[in-house]
Every structure is written in C-alpha cells, then in structure tokens.
Subunit: 503 residues, 2 copies
Amino acid sequence: MTNIEGVRASYGLYRQHMRKLADVRAALALMQWDQETYMPVRGSGFRAQQVATLSEMAHEMVTAEKLESLLDSLDGATDLNDIERKNISLTREDFLKQKKYPAAFVRKMSETVSKSFNAWNLAKKENRFSLFEKELAELVQLKKEETEILGYKEHPYDALMDEFERGCTVRLMDNIFENMLPKLRGLHEKIQEAKSPDDFFLFNSFDKKIQWGLGMQVIAELGFDFEAGRQDISSHPFSTSFNKFDVRITTRIDENDFSSMLFSCIHETGHALYEQGLPESEYGLPSGEFASLGIHESQSRLWENHVGRSRAFWKFNYPLVTEKFPEAFSGISEEQFYKAINKVKPSLIRTESDELTYHFHVMIRYEIEKMLISGDLQTNDIPACWKEKYRKWLDVEVPDDTRGCLQDVHWSHGSFGYFPTYSLGSFYAAQFFAQAKKEEPDINEKMERGETKGLLQWLRQRIHGSGRIWNSEEICKIATGETLNVRYFLDYLFEKYSKIYEI
Amino acid sequence: MTNIEGVRASYGLYRQHMRKLADVRAALALMQWDQETYMPVRGSGFRAQQVATLSEMAHEMVTAEKLESLLDSLDGATDLNDIERKNISLTREDFLKQKKYPAAFVRKMSETVSKSFNAWNLAKKENRFSLFEKELAELVQLKKEETEILGYKEHPYDALMDEFERGCTVRLMDNIFENMLPKLRGLHEKIQEAKSPDDFFLFNSFDKKIQWGLGMQVIAELGFDFEAGRQDISSHPFSTSFNKFDVRITTRIDENDFSSMLFSCIHETGHALYEQGLPESEYGLPSGEFASLGIHESQSRLWENHVGRSRAFWKFNYPLVTEKFPEAFSGISEEQFYKAINKVKPSLIRTESDELTYHFHVMIRYEIEKMLISGDLQTNDIPACWKEKYRKWLDVEVPDDTRGCLQDVHWSHGSFGYFPTYSLGSFYAAQFFAQAKKEEPDINEKMERGETKGLLQWLRQRIHGSGRIWNSEEICKIATGETLNVRYFLDYLFEKYSKIYEI
C-alpha cells in the first residue's frame, strides 16, 4: 500500500467511525424527540435508562482508542484536502475534550437529565418550583463538577458557554450586555412614552386546528421540506435533526394568542432550514454539522424576525391570515397587524417577547446561571431572584413559577450556558440580513410577493453549506466581511421601532 | 469475597449487561415504530443506516466475550434461584445462536430490511409487485443464507420458524394443517350452504374521527394502560414495546368498513396487555420477555376473537356503537350486529378475515414461504402462485397485488417463518380461554357487564407473569394442564358457527 492509499484507507475508517457515532446520536435525538412529543408518562423511567446507555455508548465511541490512533495517523497527512484536514483537527479537539469526562459522570448526567425533564414538566404543570428544585440542585452540582472537568481560565461558567459557542466567555458577554443594555433601555423608555399600537385583536379566540393549518402553510412557503421533516406539538417548541433528510420541529398552540404558535413555527423553521441545508455527503463529520448554537440561532432569529416580523412578509401573508380568521381580523388593516405583532411590551415569557425586551430575558437567565455556577446563588433562591430581576429590568411582577423560572426547558436538559447564544444569534442574524440585503437589494420586494427562495439560497451558500468547518467568527467574516458587530442589530432595531412608534 | 458474593456479583454484572442490551433494542424498536408512524419519507435512507448500526451494536452485546465469561462463571452456580438459573441457560442458548451470525451478515440484513420496507410501501401504494421484487429476492437470498448459518435437521424453513417459535417445524405445521384444514373446509362448505347473515350495514360510511374515539374507548375498557402506552396510525397495524411502561400499538381506519379498525384495535390491545403485564424487575432478562410469538399471538387472538367477537362482549358494547353511529346502525339489532361481525366470507385480506378462513390465509403464506426458502418458488412467480392458491383454497379471484401478495408487511421486515405463529396463536387462545372459562364459569356474564378484569388477571397470573422462563408448550401445560390440543379451537369454532348459521 502506498502512503496515499494508506491515508485514504484511514480517512475512510475515520469517516465510518464518525458516521456510526452519528447514528447513535440520531437514536438519542429520536428518543428525546419522542419523550417530548409522544411518549406515555410512565415510560420516562426506563427511557431515562435507555438514553443513559446510548449516551454512554456515544461517549465511548467519541473517546475510543481506535479513533485516537486514526486521528494520529491522519494528523498532518498531506494527502488530505483542506476540508478533510479540518475535520481531523476538529475531531481531535472534540476527542480531547470528551476524553476529559469520566464514563460514570456521563451516565450520571444523562440519568439526572432524564429525571429532571420529568420533574420540570410536572413542576411547571403543577406550578410548584419545589417539585423541580431537588433535581435542579443535583444538575447544578454536576455542572459545577463539569466546569472543573473541562477547566477554564477566568470564570467557571466560561467552560459551560464554550460547549455551545466556542470561545464565548463571561468577559465577552458581560461586555456585550454592558454596552448594549443601556441603549436598549433608552430605546425602551422612548417607546414606553410613545403611543402604543393596539394589539387586542391578537388575543381573540383562534381555532387550534385552523391555526395549525396556517402554521403549516407558512412553514411550507418558507421552504421547509416536508418530505425531509415534520412538525408536531410539544409543551416547549424545539427543533432536532436525525440527518438532513429528517429534521423535526415542534410548536404549541395557544387558542387565545395568535402570535404564540405562528412565530414559534417560523423560528423553528429557521433552525430546520439550516439543518436541511447541511451537506449530505458529510453526515457525521464536523463538515456536516452546524457551526455553533449562536449560528443556529442566527438562522431561527433571522427567519422569525427579519422575515416573519417584517412589513414585506405580511404584505404577502396577511391576506392568508384574514382568510383563515375573517372575523377576528375584520376591520384590521395590514399596517395595524404589522404594528401589533411588533408591539414592544415587557412580559413574562421569553419566547413570546418582542425583539427588544427579549434580550433582557436572556440577560436575566445569563446572570442567574453565572451565579449558580459560581456558587453565589442557591437553587432554592432562584424564584425570588427571578422575581427581583424581572421587576428591575422589565418592571413586571412575576405571579408564579410556571410563568417565571419554570418557563424554559433548558435547565431540565442540563443546558447551562445556552441562553447567551440566543442573544448572539439575534446579533448575527441582523448582520447576516443586512449583508444579504446589500447584495440583493430587492429582497424585500421579493418577500412582498412571497418569494424567499433567494434569501434561503444566499444563506445556504454563505452559511449552511460549510458545516462546522468555520467557527462562528469565521463564518461571520466570510459571509459579511467582518466579525460580529452588534451595531447591525442596534441599527435594525432603532430603525424598525422608530417607524412603528414614530420616535 | 465468598463464593456466594462472587456469584451475586457476577449475576449483577450479567443483569446489567442484559439491561443495556435491552436499552439498545428499545432504541431500535423506537426507530422502527417511528419509521412506520411519523418518519418523513426522505428520512428512510439514513434511518436504514442508523438501524443497521444499532443492530450491529446489539449483536456485539449479545455475543460479547464479557457475556460469555459471565455465563461460564454462572453456569450451574448453586447460589442462584430457579428463575436466575433459567435466565442463564436461556441467555446461553441465545448467545450460542447469535454467535453463529457474522457481524457483516447482521448489518447486511438490517440494511436490506430497511430498504425493503420502503420498497414494499411504495409497491403497495402503486400496486406494482415489481417495485418490491428486487428487494424481496435479496431478502429471500439472505434468509436462505441464514438457514445455513443457523442449521436445521429436516427442512431449511425449520431454522426460520424456530426464530419465532422454538421447536416449530415443517413436520409439525404440515401435520397440524393437514389434519385441520379438511375439517375447516367441511365446516366452510356447510356454512356456504346455510343462510348468510346480512352485513351490509358494516360497510356504510363511518366518520374516521368517531371511529378513532370508539376504538380508544374500547381499548381503555379492556384495560390498556394509556399512561404506559399509546395508539397511533400506521399503514399496517402492529404492536411494539420499549418496556412494560411504554407499549405502543397502531391501527388504520377504513371509512367504509366498520370492522377494520375496531378489531385491529382489540387485537393489538391483546398484544399490549401481555407486554404491560411482564414483570418490571426482570426488564432485559428472559424472565422479563414474552415467551414466543405463538403465545404473543394467543393473547391478541384471545382478546380479538374470544372477547371482541363474542356475544357477551357486544351485549355491553353495542349500545356504545349505536350511540356513536346512530344512523348507520338504525334498526339493526344486537343479534344482527353480532352475526354480521362473525360472518364467514372468503376474502382477500388476512387481517380482515373471519376466524375460519383466516387459517387458509395463513397456510397459503406458509406454503409460499416454504417453497421460497427451499428454492421451489422464485420471487417473481409469487403473484401467480398467490392467485392460484387463493382460487384453490378460498375460491376468490385476487384482482391485484396490493390486495394480494403485497398486503402483509412481514416479508419487507425479513420475517419469514412468522405466519405459522398466527395459527398457533389462535389454537392456544382457544385452549386458554376454555380453561379460564372452566375455572371462572361466570366469565361471560361478567363480560356482559363490561367486566374483563378477571380474565386479564387470570392471563397475567398464568401467562404474562413468567416471561420467557417457560416455553410455549410449558406455559400451555401450566395454564391448562395439557400441551397444545387443537380440539379446543375446533370445538369453539364448530359451536360458534353452528349457532350463528343454525347448522
């Protein structure tokens, strides 16, 4: 065997190993999807065990000696192309990171997460934080252990954020929030002094089945491939992917809140369009995976806000809404509707908040997580701390835990360090959309005709197609010519609300 | 460590290994369930690969050296109780059998099965056998290889039947069918000469949603635990289990055929009640698994026929039917309804056939499979052979493949040797029910009041609770005092139809 043949054979084995790992992860993702959509309630105990077993197997595969020796043999091999070399180095990074986790820790974490999800579900339903507190405390303890396992330079919470967004640190996020929040607060104050648009008609009664039909129609219009995915109902909307040809999103329907389902549909579709746009041949390899959660979220926020909450989008779609709900929207103009869905309103629920106050919601979670991980806050003090922060930043009273600290699923999944990516995603989204618009100035005119294919094409080429080959900052630079610049987001927000609120 | 401690420790490790294996199998079962209920069409390619990977992993676990040495250390250990000893010996049997399969064969089979399922689905939809023929031929070839891998004494098909029903052979089944079919044919002839009950009212128009509601109500009434299971829609009804607290059944609804959904619901519920009755603590061990497919089928057939098609059952439930469909059953008496759902009618579809001609359907598949495996029939000759046999045994003309040789999902799953268990199940069912009735003579009176808990209790004690500790014949003997005796089935059938047809 020549050297080239040897390298090709090793790369083939590496690829095979990674694809099998992806298969196991797909099974895990399916079990988790099922758990939140269709699983009967008593199934949770054994499901927790099943998820734990497969997590352990995935962990064994990602830290296998066999993989290590393949990586060793491929390291620096000159017979690999650029993408292949990048795959090897990224897999090496993952390998070294995963190698740090003891198998027992992985299993313990997985089991605790499964238990926690059910406890959270019950606690949220029963509106009693105490039903979730024990599991949450266990999770926080495990997460603290995890920061020590992974290591960090400045703040233990850095280790957790890095899981979702490589390179994201407390220093960086503090800096972003400290600079941005005063500006957002300033805008918010002006808006509160201005005349507020009516939105009472969004809180009429909307038949759930008709809502569902509308959501499905909008999703299809945006390019979601229903032969390569599906939408279901769950208590907390999410998206997941088993491969680019099987991408699942979920939503929930509120009979008395028109926006609730619709924007979750568009948001999750943004995630799905990214997954459906990953390269098929790279399944299982870094080059076939999404780049980061911040970039993932940039896609959902771009479609939700820059498309779904835009004036142009509703020029085409408002007739569809009035056709489905003629009575509820009788006498309501397109302009009134547009303003209503963009009304800025300090509220309790993050996922239903406007584009401005959204970042206060994120920041509050970020602050609480930071304190939990550093030990400055105990889990049983969360509800009080939550209430206090909502009072301070949003001037709202949190009436109960279900609409307070129990509203988000993330902690029950063991996801700490995830929330900051929601804000980052919004900032990236604004920058990407600004660039797309610069390159294709008729983007809004097309949207007015229901055409968003061009935009999707732009995103596929600039962002989706390269998988995880580039990190967030590199993608941003490739797509827009500069690294993350929150000015695009602020400009977008100030321009939009200036018009709506005439300020 | 004393010897006892050593044995206990080994048994603990053995149990842990088996539970992890069960976890992987549960993930596989979930992937298969999803494939037939919710998976988007383009997801099939990668799903096939994912199923293959997990099948391979399960195969590695069941044939692991680690397992072998645990079995060696536990073999004949005196510090195990009877059930534990039986678990060890049954696991040893499985181990030796599975050890025969080369890993490459397991993977190839799994991939072929996934491809085949999609080909079958399409072929059935398009009504073209040719769209499935290539995959089927591949499967038959693999199955022939499998008979050589497993070995057999008399007929290669014995090796395949043994997979589903230990000890079942061509000699045994030929003997049963040769003895029974003439008697069934005789009864059938008498019935054809007698006055046939009306059943036109079963082929009215029945709203699908109302049917669904009726099915769900009946299932609940029979004791299906909806907190430990669920029902969904699929093109071919089936049941599967991820553990005793998560048992899934599916059905399909025909708007113009009242019986179609209802009896599939009751049938699959019979399977589910068995799975929900397995002992929780034995999860993953032979003592926590169903005994055989014949015994599994005995449970579904018992509930479907001895309960669901009984006079007593409809005394309680017919009012429910007329309440749901007042127009369709207007003027139709309980007695007329009972006779209609028991009408003997040579037909095309096995799952919709009556209790008598059902066994002709099974026998035809059995004969065809036997010939395919022995090489006496080629796959492209199946449609012609099928038509000829339906003409000969049921005197019906098969108009197309969808209602002919494409009707059943089994071959696309690679399940050859499965069909005979359907007949065996019916025979066991009759024997079990006769015994239950002997011990609790008021079983019918209770059913007239909608009470079937006592029957379920009897089945749980006699059959469900012991898992796979006893084989079919042993279970039969424990439950009824004698081994399989088809006289019970014939007596039941002759008595039932004599009354209905007044012969």
